[in-house]
Symmetry: C2
Subunit: 662 residues, 2 copies
Amino acid sequence: MASIAHELAKKQKEISISEFFEKNKHILGFDSLTRALITAVKESVDNSLDACEDAGILPDIFVQVEKVANNEYRIVVEDNGPGIVKKQVPNVFGRLLYGSRFHVRAQRRGQQGIGVSAVVMYAQITTGRPAKIRSRISDEDVAYECEIILDTKKNRPQTMKEDFVIWEKPHGTRFEVNLRGKYVGGKQSIYEYLKGVAIVNPHARITFIQPNGGNVVFERSTEAMPPPTNEVRPHPEGVELGELLNMAKYTEAKKMTSFLNTEFSRISLRVAREILDAADVPHNQRPSRLNLNQAGDIIDAVKKVKIMAPETDCLSPIGEGLIRKSLKNVLGETKASFYAPPVTREPKVFGGNPFIVEIGIVYGGQLSREDPVQIYRFANRVPLMYQQGACATTQGIENVDWRRYGLEQRGGKGIPYGPAIILVHVASTKIPFTSESKEAVANVPEIREEIELALKACARKLKTHLNKAERKSKARVKFEIVQEIIPMIAQKSAKIVGKPVPDIAGTITKIMNVVWVDDEVTHNKKKTHRVSVKLYNYTPKNQKLQLHMVLPYEKVDEKSLTLEPSEVRDGTKVTWNMKKVAPTEVFELAFDMKGLDGGDYEENEVFVSGIDAASVIGADVLPGDWDLEHITITEEKAAPEEEADEGEIDYDEGAEVIENEE
Amino acid sequence: MASIAHELAKKQKEISISEFFEKNKHILGFDSLTRALITAVKESVDNSLDACEDAGILPDIFVQVEKVANNEYRIVVEDNGPGIVKKQVPNVFGRLLYGSRFHVRAQRRGQQGIGVSAVVMYAQITTGRPAKIRSRISDEDVAYECEIILDTKKNRPQTMKEDFVIWEKPHGTRFEVNLRGKYVGGKQSIYEYLKGVAIVNPHARITFIQPNGGNVVFERSTEAMPPPTNEVRPHPEGVELGELLNMAKYTEAKKMTSFLNTEFSRISLRVAREILDAADVPHNQRPSRLNLNQAGDIIDAVKKVKIMAPETDCLSPIGEGLIRKSLKNVLGETKASFYAPPVTREPKVFGGNPFIVEIGIVYGGQLSREDPVQIYRFANRVPLMYQQGACATTQGIENVDWRRYGLEQRGGKGIPYGPAIILVHVASTKIPFTSESKEAVANVPEIREEIELALKACARKLKTHLNKAERKSKARVKFEIVQEIIPMIAQKSAKIVGKPVPDIAGTITKIMNVVWVDDEVTHNKKKTHRVSVKLYNYTPKNQKLQLHMVLPYEKVDEKSLTLEPSEVRDGTKVTWNMKKVAPTEVFELAFDMKGLDGGDYEENEVFVSGIDAASVIGADVLPGDWDLEHITITEEKAAPEEEADEGEIDYDEGAEVIENEE
């Protein structure tokens, strides 16, 4: 037995990171020939976009894929970025785990220092050929060009050739590599990847020369760079105990107060003192003396003390307006009947990293009713093409009971069916990908939860749209019948018995016994939208209600308002205290909105309060504290929550169900 | 601009592998508190099992999970393995990418040199505490015990404390760690993981002390170790050009012939010469002189020359018998009505690595008809608990059109619905996991293809079962009616016209015009199975057919055979040349099978040939060359293939569809 332990000991040795990935190239996204080619383009284009944005340059990216032999392609990716200084070129392209963005807490596409070096490695494994890089920085007259391979035993670049060459480009980088792969069309293709890049990077121009020579240009649709994103310090929420101890060990701060204040975001000196008091740690203690118990107490104190949400200037969401425009632009041919107003949520935090979730839903038109909905996934403005099933965005979609929102879904679990496209974008200073191939967001509970809330918020708008037309027309028919037939009966009866026709308004209200809300948006050519909300009191008593709408209030022409709102919250949540409405009377609220494009505001979101849900038709009752995520659709029969939970698809993760031992 | 390039250059630096994973702990399986706890147990138990098997010891594993504080647990995993020599303990537990199995081409659970060190790192990040390891090798009197942490800046272990202690165990290793986590029950739990381990490792005893003190023992069901698996050299199929060049550079062989012969499996000197001739490379050339073109030619030549399939002694599949027993054992309470005979395929190769796929299907009983089928996934005898959606096994299941095999499936794509459990096991000298957390098999085309073939082979047996009972009883009813009514009509008519009753056998055959095959298996208490196949010729002409069955021929009692088979292929594919059967006559084949357990042979697989499919009822026509994967079920209306392919679920990968440019 001892000899076995010694025998085994002899075999135990270090594994170089590049040997590891050489044997596990599928982890890097090279698991099939088709995917290898897409991964190679993706890694290089992501790098180019990051470089341009770091330098504040509008990206102009050139991509060429050329067939060299059966299952062998040459890929060229060229950008107009700032270039890379000569000394760093081999390291950037020929060494795994080397880069500029890993230690930075900021929204970038690349974060691992692996991507493009992995392409170089895969290329040399499969074709035996080096990669060729050319780079010029703007204060040099010439470009530096070299051929490198990655020595996988040492994880170091090896320069095979180098030279200075004339290049007409004032600055930029060109990456050229031969690799084994397979070029395909269809949904998972280089073309679709570049189209996705164009959707979420409207400031980039992308030129694509296909293997058949075909030339596609995705023109930029804006000359404005996205606002630059700043580096941030970690937000204290979710920082782990071991990390805190480590930070305390290496900080330059001399006291605990300044340590917390300088190393974290959103901790002012006042908040720092508050945390330390709650944790019973002296303000002046040297951070390096922080012990395990104290660190634990600080972690607990952070949860109790009120700390501001993270800064948003470190994140670059696509934005609601742009999501809608991009979707309309790209999906024009589907003639979709409804583009749900996109949702961009407030930033949240996981493990100290701020993140934002954005959702867009497109419905109807020529989208297939028989197939599962299409899912468009993006992370930090990069389209995710593979591993849909492993992605927190997909799991979020699977966890929502879409039957409540008008889509078909067996058992209320899984990817729903119906004529819809769901777009999900996660932006963060740190995207927790499930692997180095960066194709799926890990199932971090904080992120999945936000995705689900965002999906529900957007789905609610879809449901509102689907319900509204139908239930309004039904209600109208009912009212028309009652309003025509009862007066007729009254007249007939009066005639028969020879008495005057009685006032039957009261009778009608007794029969109906509801408040009916009817709203509409009309737009004219001058880009003015006219909004009208009418409230018919068909109950036998006076009604004094509040009317609520969700809309961009800055677009409301205040002069046109027939009633001043009593409150405008967050610029979008507007409340009107209505005057008393007597039985059979009507109240109308109307106003104009200006400066909107045709499709920007197509449907009102109307709520009422001061009445029970069963007594109102045509609008929902506002949930407490504008809690719109948890609104219940009352008039359509929704499947009860319990039934939905029974569906036992084992869609991974998310199983934090029972604490067995308690 | 130049200043930007220089500015960026300053930020570019190396990232240590442990810093990388410290920031990307979700990649290692620590993305949620629940999963963190399962991952920690999984990594340590996998290590323990590997160690025991390396030493030929029947594993006796002890697992304890204990609640320490809110969301903090202590995990202890103890084994009776050979122990680890003192000098290696810190490296094995406190250093990422360090281990004994990475450079070995053999079927092992651990292959990356990451797992258990990652647990140590996660523990210290979340609780600030070191891991405690005790290990004793059998020629030492005492055990070595130490507390270590992993210095993430350097990726080196740091020993905090060490000592020698008395330990009653003669040899073994004990691993103890405190970490942040959450203990849950349900489908994704430590209990279910250990149960899965027990299913596929019947030689292991596992004791589990739960946080509530509850004690579960999974007893071993066999005292026999699985046959030891050998290391193998790479199989030449799928070796990449760059790898070949690298191997040629580092080999000790002096000539190309001996290089190919010694560095690869299944290349004899004769085959080596054949390859070199086909590639036009001199036999005596020094391998180090191999150039790019020559290497490419050798790769091409390998595809042309006939090379034996890989050795199987490097793999340890579960085996058909054990799969059935384990499933019956564990799933007894479901009272399933059918356990399809499991399928263990022949080994195949991807990128030089042999692998085997195994499938089991359980159907009926109390399994829910309303839910998606349950999927049990295993890789190298380890249950896979997470990332089902990303796994090639799941994608294989989604790609099969299960409507052809009796399960419900919308559009013929996606996870089917119905009362079934599908077990998939992939065994390989190298499992290509999608990430370091080892929870999903990457979508390597060779593997996914094998999975689909294996699934179809097993599903066919399910379909046979489902169809058989039903169609036989239908056919019987039809025959009985015809055989009763026509003679009655004949008698009546004869009576009326006063003529003798005609012979109507010929008339019946004209009406029916089919060959009817009826088979059954009966078993008695002596474990003898009696098999009978009857063939009724209800056609108007003589039939001379061949009868084929799939069964374990070594179990057939040859003395009992009423007809000698004309061929037995692969020990399972048996053919009988039947004598001529005249119209209205019956042919019967019967024999006994011995040495089988009650459930081992429950249903015959019968085929015929020498007749067109439309003219036979009760058996399928054998597809050409026993191509059972591609058999068409003729009598039940199967959905046409084209329709199935239209379902456009975008289940990742697998999109190698069109070569656009050609």
